[in-house]
Amino acid sequence: MSIPEPFRLASFVVGIMAFVGLNAAYLVWVERKGAGRFQRRPGPTEVGYAGLLQPIADAVKLMTKQVIVPPGADATLFRLAPVLIMTPAMMCFTVLPFGETLTATDINLGLLMIFALGSINVMAIMLGGWSSRNKYAIISSARVVSQNVAYEIPMLLTVVTMLMVTGSANLNQIVQQQAGAFWNWNLFNLAANPLMPVTFVIFFICMLAETNRAPFDMAEAESELVAGAFTEYAGMGFGVFFMAEYANIVVGCSLATVLFFGGWQSPIGVLPGVWWFLLKLYLLIFTVVWIRWTFPRTQFYGLLNLSWKILIPVSLATVVSTAAVMKVF
């Protein structure tokens, strides 16, 4: 079955926007419900059955609020920052292979494109903090930049490892290489790199840090730093930042699924398809929520030390060991 190109494009644009919007809205619900369960309380229960209409109530509340530009702020950049954070997050979805034939654009450098777009995220948060003319926002955006620079390095080193193992930056090809049952997944590809599970753990930790998630949520630190870089944002301006955070989590977990867990491949070798991708994706997202409600926020020095003293050397070791295995065998 082939669909004319304009219709295919339009349906993907609408589909991706709907997917991001729904995920952002309902991951907030998952987060709150999960927080409740981890702390032995019921979580949201009031709006709709099991609080399922809560995201809609939140969205209506945010949208009815005025978007205030603080006096003295750089109005253009202040308004541009939410756009700049949301657009790249959405653009990343165009190259993610949801299913065997369900990819918006199957380009050869999909992996590179995701990381190129992902790094805009930092600039958007920095712009948001900087343009709002608020010292707390500026301090917090400086933290975001140093945190993201520190974690970009081990993250890219793990990706270099994956590129060496797979020999392709095309996400669909990477998934196809992992066909068959779960022992063909890159996570268990110990023949190519004996440190593969370590590589995944580093990737996951860096993903948490890149998306500013707890325990690395120094950008917001809502209990200490007002709302960090988003202090001056009101209404949907803040809402968009919030949505972008969840969109980035979805992108990060999708990428982990594709790189390490065989994407849409079935773990038992039957019925490969989009549901396996979604199942793995949401299990990883659940792990993100699980980590958030398990560990307290790290100290900022601890965060940078972890990256520079542990993650970078270990990820370098994985690169070297992969190279050695490739050269020897």
Binding site: G34, R41, T45, F295
Partner: protein
Amino acid sequence: MKKNALKEIVTGFASLLTGMRITLAQFFKPPVTVNYPRQSLKMPARYRGHITFVRDQETGKSLCIACKSCQKACPSDCIVVEGVKREGEKRKSVTDFKLDFTKCSLCGSCVEVCPVDALEFSKHYNLASTNKEKFVVIDLVKDLEKRGK
């Protein structure tokens, strides 16, 4: 770099996993909280709400004999008691028992001093009003009648 840095990384990571195992175990247990406005816990026996009459199980009336001991014992002067001697009854019976809850400090002297154990602490804790008058005069006689119905 410390000598046993590698060991530290491994044990540190293991302890993180232990933490995650503990929280996941909590995740599957039922909630321990009470959904407050819809459910509430039974107040403990020694909880002190404002004082109230003990209801006589047989007659449904108060045991109070209007002796005014409580009125005298009250350090804050927040109790006013009136009673009459009815024909054919041995004791006086209470007609009026007013408590000024805005002054009461819940010291319990009235409960302690009562010779016929006619007073007890109620378990009311959801007292809230926009009107002070509601607490300046709490009529225990009416309160008892209301409970009888």
